[in-house]
């Protein structure tokens, strides 16, 4: 088998899926450098595990890749490489840069406080719970898909999602009550 041909096909696979893998890792780890590390680790692991992928089992290639990425993200977080490395100031600076209309300093400070609180709450969730929340809320995967990625039952995923949402609702109450947060 020509190695060149293989990597050519694999590169096509990389190009089709890199954005989605990076986005998931970034939403979970909240740090672009760590997300990039996970991106690379995911594709390297996928390449070396290609023989284990069986399309007849009904899993799409993207789903299979997500499963690898999800586990790589959870591992990265568990190793605590990134948990404390995330700089809120850098994040805030990025936000201000991304949205030049945010010129109200009071509003900016409040946004920073809210994001800080959300991060604190997410950090208190278990790595798996946090992944379930990120996959459902930000990446918009169904609980059935998440169950597949995490090799768990849909019922168990829902139970953990409800707990995560409950914790977020409890801890963010102050901001909702203070601001009214009208719909």
């Amino acid at each position: 088998m020509a190695q060149g041909g293989d990597t050519g096909a694999f590169r096509a696979l990389f190009e089709d899926n890199r954005q989605q893998v990076f986005s998931l890792a970034y939403h979970y780890l909240k740090n672009p450098e760590d997300a990039e590390d996970v991106l690379q680790e995911t594709f390297i692991k996928a390449y070396h595990s290609l023989h284990r992928y069986n399309p007849d089992k009904g899993a799409s290639f993207r789903g299979w890749l997500n499963r690898i990425c999800v586990n790589a993200c959870i591992d990265a977080l568990r190793k605590s490489k990134v948990r404390d490395a995330y700089s809120l100031d850098a994040q805030e600076a990025a936000n201000v840069h991304a949205n030049p209309h945010h010129s109200n300093p009071e509003k900016t400070a409040q946004n920073k406080e809210i994001r800080e609180k959300i991060d604190q709450v997410l950090d208190k969730l278990s790595p798996k719970q946090r992944m379930i929340f990120v996959l459902r809320h930000y990446q918009e995967y169904t609980t059935r898909e998440i169950a597949d990625y995490l090799n768990s039952s849909e019922g168990n995923i829902k139970k953990q999602l409800f707990r995560a949402i409950e914790i977020l609702k409890k801890r963010l109450k102050r901001f909702i009550l203070e601001d009214g947060y009208g719909l």
Binding site: A9, Q40, H48, Q91, K158, I176
Partner: protein
Amino acid sequence: MDCKKAKNDITLYLYGELDEEDRAALQQHLQECRSCAEELDYTKKVFKLLDEHQPAPAHEPNWESSWQRIQSGISRTPAKDKALLFPRWRWVYAGSAIAAILVIGIIIGKYWLAPSPQPIQTKSPTTISPAALPPTLSSHLEDLKPLLLEYAHYTPGAQGTKTLAVDEKIVRGLLLQNLLLKRILAEKDPAAAELLDDLDLVLKEIANQPSQGRQAPALIKDLINQRGILFKMEILKTL
């Protein structure tokens, strides 16, 4: 419906994961229970707060340098990587390898060394595998067949410039599927692997055609015919 279930269903409702029956039951409950109606309202506000305070979109990484690092990662020997990544599984791997060798030995003894029950039967000399088609291979060949037939039956239009409309994503998917099967069958089934090599060539030809106008279906047709790809596929299916 009790309030505890309603509370959980509110989350599923907001994520669009509630089926029609449960949705109707929740709506009924919300009309009767003020506390749960307020809970729905509050949950919507929390979701809005979360959505408005997502991490800022990251700058895209330098995809080319990411790819370079991936390439250097995949060129390392997987065995070494696996040992580094999963040292505690080394003994499991060793056990699995021994078991695999035993199973292969049994299969060789049973099918290849045993006298053939039908010595008169003649088969093409070949390249074609006596083993039953693995399900993945058979479904792959089924997936490919319409595309190959389209090219095999291609006749140039009056102007001689007729092109075939091909979905690039589908071709890439088939190419990848082909690659995966080649990896799986490379050692187990050389005949199937040979056919997959041929298919690899054809798919690459199709994938590498410029997407606008300058496809060369006649060349691809020749490639399919010269290598007898459809014939090999049919034979492989009937065995």
